[in-house]
Symmetry: C2
Subunit: 167 residues, 2 copies
């Protein structure tokens, strides 16, 4: 049952305890964030460490949830989703926001966040054509309590990556 909204899909913007990370950990994260197929031997050479040492660290980073998963990055255009857009959705109240969130399993929706400010929900959506966006906006506006939407069609993407481990 993929793409189903479960409790665990929700990532509350609470202040998690940041994990204790040293410089080597952050370098590992920086490398794996770009390419998780690198071998431990390979990483070990770059970091002047043995393969098992790297493995231990990666294992710990996964166990602590710093690395949430390793995933394949798919080209939206190549799978037929040629149009990327961000949609701000105004909702009247919390109840209508909840109704909106139940649409999170739609395959067009890549990201769904509640945001502060007048608009209640921000969506990142990837659709087949402008028609697909029209359909989606229709679904959104059918929801009771949804005041209106504001769409930003993406022309070009210049950066698209995960969090920087920094420091």
């Amino acid at each position: 049952m993929p793409n189903e909204i479960k409790e665990t899909n929700t990532v509350k913007q609470v202040r998690h305890q940041p994990a204790k990370l040293d410089d080597v950990d952050r370098r590992i994260l920086g490398i794996l964030a770009q390419d998780s197929s690198r071998s431990y031997v390979d990483l070990g050479q770059e970091l002047h460490l043995s393969a098992p040492a790297v493995h231990d660290r990666v294992k710990r980073l996964k166990r602590d949830g710093v690395i949430k998963a390793t995933v394949a990055k798919i080209d939206g255009c190549k799978v037929g989703r040629t149009l990327l857009a961000f949609v701000l959705v105004n909702t009247k109240n919390v109840v209508s926001t909840k109704r909106l969130l139940s649409l999170g399993n739609l395959p067009e929706i890549e990201e769904m966040h509640t945001v502060a400010g007048d608009s209640g929900v921000l969506l990142k959506v990837r659709v087949r054509e402008t028609e697909g966006l029209e359909d989606l906006l229709g679904k959104l506006q059918d929801i009771e309590g949804v005041d209106g939407t504001r769409s930003y069609i993406v022309l070009s993407t210049f950066v698209e990556r995960g969090p920087d481990p920094g420091e």
Copy 2:
């Protein structure tokens, strides 16, 4: 030289030729988009295929650019970036947009898109604290030709994934 803006980092929103994909390809993409660490033996059992057959398909999907990379998903909070926000940046003209794009290598910036509509650029940023956002907004507004910014602070994230291979 990580996080450096290169030609290849730019993903123009041109209509790529969608790759020819059958149902099995899409199922593979769907699985690997969630967990790329699954073994070919494992995938083969789920798809009723031999491991090398799966491997051949994955190899082709990578060669054709459908799978752009396999990466580790990092928890922003766990690495100390507790505040997620989207920033719409109004730019006067194309020249100021270009100046803005040169900031793409800042570690706080996860996504940078040019968008249609009155606002020129949309940013997804992940910072340490509100202070970090303030710093970033300062940098943006220092750019000549940047009219103003509008920020949407994320309260909760309900969906965050890649493109759905669909069909």
